[in-house]
C-alpha cells in the first residue's frame, strides 16, 4: 500500500500533477464560476452604496473597476443621508428594540415549557408536547386578520409590545421542539441527583438545565433573531403605518415604493438593513447553520 504510491510520486510526480490539474479544471471553473455569480449581486450593491448619486445614475457600478483605487469616486454621504433624513437610523434602533426581546422572550418561555415537558411529572405531558409542536404547520397568515383586529381593539397595533408577543408566539413551537428534545436528552441521573440533594425545580432549572442547554438555545436564538430582524410581514401588519416604531425592513420597503429610482439611498439603505444579519452570519456561522438545519421545519 505505501510503497506503490511513493514510487509513482517519485518518478512521475509532475505528470501526475498535470493530469490531476487537467481533470479537475472543470470542477474548479464550475465552483469558482458559481461562487462569483452568487456574489456579484451583493458586491454590486455594496460598491454602489459608496458611489456618488450622479455617477450612479450615469454609469454602471462595474465601471469603478477601471480604476478601483481612485478613492475620489467613493464617499459615505449616501449612508449619512439614508440614516438621518430617511429615518434609517431610527429604524436600525427599532429593529434592535424589536429583535432582542422578540428573541429573548420566546427563548425563556420555550425553555421553561421544555423543562416542564421533559422533567416534570403531570398527566397529559406527551399529548401537550405533540400538540404544541403540531402548531409548526400553521402558516402565520392564518392568524393575521384576527390578531390584528384584537390589537386594534386593545390599542396594541403599532406598539413594540404587540410585535414582541406576536414574534414570541410564532417562534414558540420551533423553540419548544428544539429545546425540549435537547433537554430531554440530558442525563437523568444529573437531574435526579440534584433533586435528591433537595434542590427545587427552580434551582435545577436555573443551575443545572439552563447552563447545559446553551448549544440548543444558541441555535434557536440565532435562527429566531435573524428571522425577526429580516421579517417584513409581521411588522407590516401589526405596526402598520407607525413610522416611529418601523424596523429597517419596513423603511427599506417604503423607500423602494417612494424613492424607487434613488439608487444612492436604496443601495445604502439595503446595506444598513443587511449589516447585522451578515455579522451574525460570519461570527456565528456554526450556530447559524445548526439553527437553520433545525429551523427547516418551521411553518
Amino acid at each position: 500500500m505505501t510503497t506503490l504510491p511513493r514510487r509513482r510520486h517519485g518518478s512521475n510526480k509532475f505528470m501526475d500533477r498535470l493530469e490531476q490539474a487537467l481533470t479537475s479544471a472543470p470542477v474548479h471553473i464550475a465552483v469558482i464560476g458559481i461562487a462569483v455569480l452568487w456574489t456579484i449581486p451583493t458586491a454590486g450593491l455594496l460598491v454602489s452604496s459608496f458611489r456618488y448619486r450622479e455617477a450612479l445614475t450615469q454609469t454602471g457600478w462595474w465601471t469603478v473597476f477601471q480604476e478601483p483605487l481612485n478613492f475620489a469616486q467613493y464617499h459615505l454621504g449616501n449612508y449619512v443621508d439614508v440614516l438621518t433624513s430617511q429615518g434609517m437610523g431610527q429604524a436600525f434602533l427599532n429593529s434592535l428594540v424589536i429583535s432582542i426581546p422578540a428573541t429573548i422572550i420566546p427563548i425563556f418561555i420555550a425553555t421553561l415549557a421544555a423543562y416542564a415537558l421533559a422533567w416534570m411529572h403531570f398527566p397529559g405531558r406527551q399529548i401537550l408536547f405533540v400538540s404544541m409542536v403540531a402548531l409548526l404547520v400553521v402558516p402565520l397568515q392564518m392568524t393575521l386578520i384576527p390578531v390584528l383586529r384584537t390589537y386594534n381593539l386593545l390599542g396594541l397595533a403599532g406598539t413594540f409590545l404587540g410585535v414582541w408577543l406576536a414574534h414570541a408566539a410564532y417562534g414558540l413551537p420551533l423553540g419548544i421542539y428544539l429545546i425540549r428534545n435537547y433537554i430531554g436528552s440530558l442525563p437523568g441521573d444529573l437531574i435526579e441527583a440534584a433533586a435528591v440533594d433537595g434542590a427545587s425545580h427552580l434551582k435545577i432549572f436555573t443551575r443545572v438545565v439552563l447552563p447545559l442547554s446553551v448549544p440548543a438555545i444558541a441555535s434557536f436564538a440565532v435562527f429566531q433573531f435573524l428571522w425577526v430582524w429580516n421579517d417584513l410581514l409581521v411588522a407590516l401588519v401589526y405596526l402598520g403605518g407607525n413610522q416611529n416604531v418601523a424596523p429597517v425592513t419596513l423603511i427599506l420597503r417604503n423607500l423602494v415604493g417612494d424613492r424607487g429610482q434613488d439608487w444612492h439611498l436604496l443601495t445604502a439603505g439595503a446595506f444598513v438593513s443587511m449589516i447585522v444579519p451578515l455579522l451574525v452570519f460570519f461570527a456565528l456561522q456554526r450556530y447559524f447553520v445548526r439553527g437553520l438545519l433545525a429551523g427547516s421545519v418551521k411553518g
Binding site: S24, I105, L112, P139, A169, T267, G269, P277
Partner: protein, 328 residues
C-alpha cells in the same frame, strides 16, 4: 440639541429592550415565589402550570384561536357581517387574478424547488473536491442571511431599466445591450417578470440546499465510492447510482422545506411589483385582499387554502426530520 435627542432615542431603545426581555423573567420568578407560599402537598401540582402557562397562553392567543377564527371568517363577507357560505372559496378558485396567482405559484414551486435543489446538489458534490471549500460555500450560502426585502433591492438594481439611448446601470441590461440587443423591462414584461422574481428566490435558496446536501454527501462512506471507482464506475455513474440514492432522504427534506418557503413567500412579490402585472402569488394576494381591498372574507379563505397546501408538505417534512433525529 440633535445630540441630546439621539441620546434620548438610544436610551429609550435600551430601556425598551430591558423592560421587554426582563418583564417576562420577573413574572416567572414572582409566580415561583407565590407557589412556594402554597401548602406543600399542592405545590407539585401547581408548579408545572407556572412553567407551562406562558407558552400555552401565547400559543392559544396567537395561533390556535386566531386560526379557528380565520377559518370561521372565511365564510363571511368583506366586513365579516353576513354569512356567505362558500362564496369566498368559489371566488378563490374562479377569479382571473386568483387563477393567475395559482399558475404563478406552480411556476415558483417547480422552478425554485427544482433548480435550487438540483444546483445545490451539484455544488455540494463539486465543492467537496476543492481546497477552498469553506470560502466557496460561504459565498453561495451568504444570501441566506439577507432578508427578502434586501434581496429585492439587490435584484431591482440588477434588473434596472433605462431607455435604449441612455446608459444602462442595471447589470443584466448592460450585458444585453453590449451584445447588441434592446434593453428589456424585466419587471414589466409579462412574459418575463415572473421568472425575474423566481430567480431571486433561487439565488436565496440554493445555498440553503447546498449546505444541507453537502452534510449528507460527506456522510456517504468513502469506501463505497472507492469500491465503485475500482470497479470502473464513471463519476457520473457514481453520482447517479450512489450519491443520489444514498442522500435521497435529505433531498426530500430540503425539497419540502423549500416548497413551504415558496408557498409562503410574499415579500419578494410585494416589494418588487406589488403583485401587479400578473405577478401575484397566493401569499401576496392574501395580503392584498386584506390591506388593499379590505376584504377579510376572501383574505381568510386564501389563508385557509394556504394552510391546506402547507399541511401535507409539513407533515412529510416533520416525519422525515424525526426519522433523521432518531438515526443520528
Amino acid at each position: 440639541m440633535a445630540n441630546t435627542e439621539n441620546l434620548f432615542r438610544v436610551l429609550s431603545a435600551i430601556a425598551a429592550v430591558v423592560l421587554g426581555s426582563g418583564g417576562i423573567v420577573i413574572l416567572f420568578f414572582a409566580a415561583n415565589w407565590l407557589v412556594d407560599r402554597l401548602p406543600k402537598n399542592i405545590r407539585p401540582r401547581v408548579l408545572p402550570l407556572v412553567y407551562l402557562a406562558p407558552a400555552v397562553l401565547l400559543l392559544f392567543i396567537y395561533l390556535v384561536v386566531p386560526s379557528l377564527r380565520t377559518f370561521y371568517l372565511s365564510f363571511f363577507d368583506a366586513r365579516s357581517q353576513n354569512f356567505v357560505g362558500l362564496a369566498n372559496y368559489l371566488f378563490a378558485v374562479t377569479d382571473r387574478g386568483m387563477l393567475i396567482a395559482f399558475r404563478n405559484n406552480i411556476l415558483w414551486l417547480v422552478l425554485v424547488t427544482g433548480i435550487s435543489v438540483g444546483l445545490g446538489l451539484i455544488i455540494a458534490v463539486l465543492v467537496d473536491r476543492v481546497k477552498y471549500e469553506p470560502l466557496a460555500k460561504a459565498l453561495i450560502f451568504l444570501p441566506m442571511a439577507i432578508s427578502f426585502v434586501g434581496a429585492s433591492v439587490i435584484w431591482r438594481f440588477i434588473y434596472a431599466y433605462n431607455p435604449p439611448d441612455s446608459p444602462q446601470i442595471g447589470l443584466l441590461n448592460a450585458i444585453i445591450v453590449s451584445l447588441g440587443f434592446e434593453p428589456v423591462g424585466w419587471l414589466v414584461n409579462r412574459a418575463l417578470n415572473n421568472f425575474a422574481l423566481i430567480v431571486i428566490m433561487i439565488w436565496l435558496q440554493t445555498g440553503f440546499a447546498m449546505v444541507l446536501l453537502s452534510v449528507a454527501v460527506k456522510g456517504i462512506p468513502k469506501d463505497v465510492v472507492e469500491a465503485a471507482r475500482i470497479d470502473g464506475a464513471s463519476e457520473l455513474q457514481i453520482f447517479r447510482r450512489i450519491t443520489v440514492p444514498m442522500i435521497s432522504s435529505t433531498i426530500v427534506v430540503v425539497s419540502t422545506t423549500i416548497i413551504v418557503a415558496v408557498l409562503k413567500v410574499f415579500d419578494i412579490v410585494f416589494v418588487m411589483t406589488g403583485g401587479l402585472l400578473d405577478t401575484d402569488v397566493i401569499a401576496s394576494r392574501m395580503i392584498r385582499e386584506m390591506f388593499n381591498f379590505r376584504h377579510f372574507g376572501r383574505g381568510s379563505a386564501i389563508a385557509v387554502i394556504l394552510l391546506l397546501a402547507v399541511v401535507p408538505v409539513m407533515l412529510t417534512n416533520i416525519k422525515r426530520f424525526r426519522q433523521q433525529e432518531a438515526t443520528r
